[in-house]
């Protein structure tokens, strides 16, 4: 099973990297975009704002 644990760990490192909050934030923002779009409202502005906020928060965490 060791190889499986190592493989899962490698995939996690490759995809998520060293700030899991970014991955979580991206998924939440995409979900919000889908919800707003499905309600018929303009939703193109959600991701640019979310990306700015996620980058700012991640940089702030890195500064500490």
């Amino acid at each position: 099973m060791n190889w499986l644990v190592r493989a899962v760990h490698a995939v996690w490192e490759f995809v998520v990297g060293d700030d899991p909050a970014i991955a979580l934030g991206v998924v939440v923002a995409l979900g919000a975009t889908a919800l707003i779009a499905s309600a018929g409202a303009a939703a193109w502005w959600v991701m640019p704002l979310a990306v700015l906020a996620l980058l700012a928060l991640s940089l702030r965490r890195a500064m500490r």
Partner: protein, 251 residues
């Protein structure tokens, strides 16, 4: 070539060039210190493995519904892009050590010399390190080509950009026979972070069911917007760091 096609070409070229520089450093290090024969055999084996992966994944990716592909690829590009951009902004602000290919080359050659000698036969160390380096960096190249190409319905253009990037880096490496320490790798990584994030915003939004004002032309606003915001973050971090240093100095 249209604006979005040019953006696709430049993004894939820069991203693949960065990966190729890293792979070249590893191959040069084991080739120079151990065995060119087994290092190049490792490169060839990794190239075959990559071809198999691309042949298996390529058709599967292009067969996916475009919106599902865009939302998954958009999410992955955003996650990768934001990680690259975060590190690039921290480096540009002087808060993280810049990547140095000369140092990476020195570390690889030291490790290669320290490893047990292979004698005149099969050099497993040279083969394995070259294979792993080329396979891992190559997988990133393949991921970039397939996702960018499939999303823009232009895998051919993405593949040309990737092949050109790898050829330019490999030819330069062969010509100078040294790590490409003069390549502005950190500036390239900053650009790639901006591009990955911009395409991630664009495709993720479209995949989630929203439409961009202006369609594909929105990319020509998103890319400069992400670049300006990132440069703004660099300035903000420099000021924060300067203030923290000044406060620390007077305390």
């Amino acid at each position: 070539m249209s604006g979005p096609q040019l953006a696709l070409f430049v993004s894939v070229f820069l991203a693949c060039a960065v990966e190729a520089v890293e792979a070249l450093t590893i191959v040069l290090a084991v080739g120079v210190t151990r065995s060119w024969r087994w290092a190049l055999t490792g490169v060839a084996a990794a190239t075959v493995a990559l071809a198999v992966v691309v042949a298996a994944l390529g058709p599967a990716l292009t067969a996916l519904p475009i919106n599902a592909l865009r939302v998954v690829v958009g999410a992955l590009l955003l996650i990768f892009g934001l990680q690259w951009l975060r590190k690039a902004v921290l480096r540009a602000a002087g808060l993280k050590a810049t990547h140095d290919e000369a140092k990476a080359f020195a570390a690889e050659t030291d490790a290669a010399r320290a490893a047990a000698s292979a004698g005149t036969g099969f050099d497993g160390y040279a083969f394995t390190i070259a294979f792993k380096g080329v396979l891992l960096e190559g997988l990133e190249v393949a991921f970039i080509v397939l996702t960018f190409g499939a999303n823009q319905h232009d895998i051919g253009l993405a593949a040309i950009a990737a092949v050109l990037a790898v050829a330019v880096v490999a030819a330069t490496g062969v010509a100078v026979r040294a790590p490409l320490a003069r390549v502005p790798e950190n500036a390239m990584k900053f650009s790639v972070g901006v591009m990955l994030t911009s395409f991630g915003i664009f495709w993720g939004t479209e995949g989630a069911g929203a439409s961009w004002p202006g369609g594909d032309a929105a990319l020509l606003v998103i890319i400069p917007g992400v670049l300006l915001a990132s440069l703004g973050f660099v300035q903000w971090l420099r000021r924060q760091h300067a203030v923290a240093t000044a406060v620390g100095g007077t305390a």
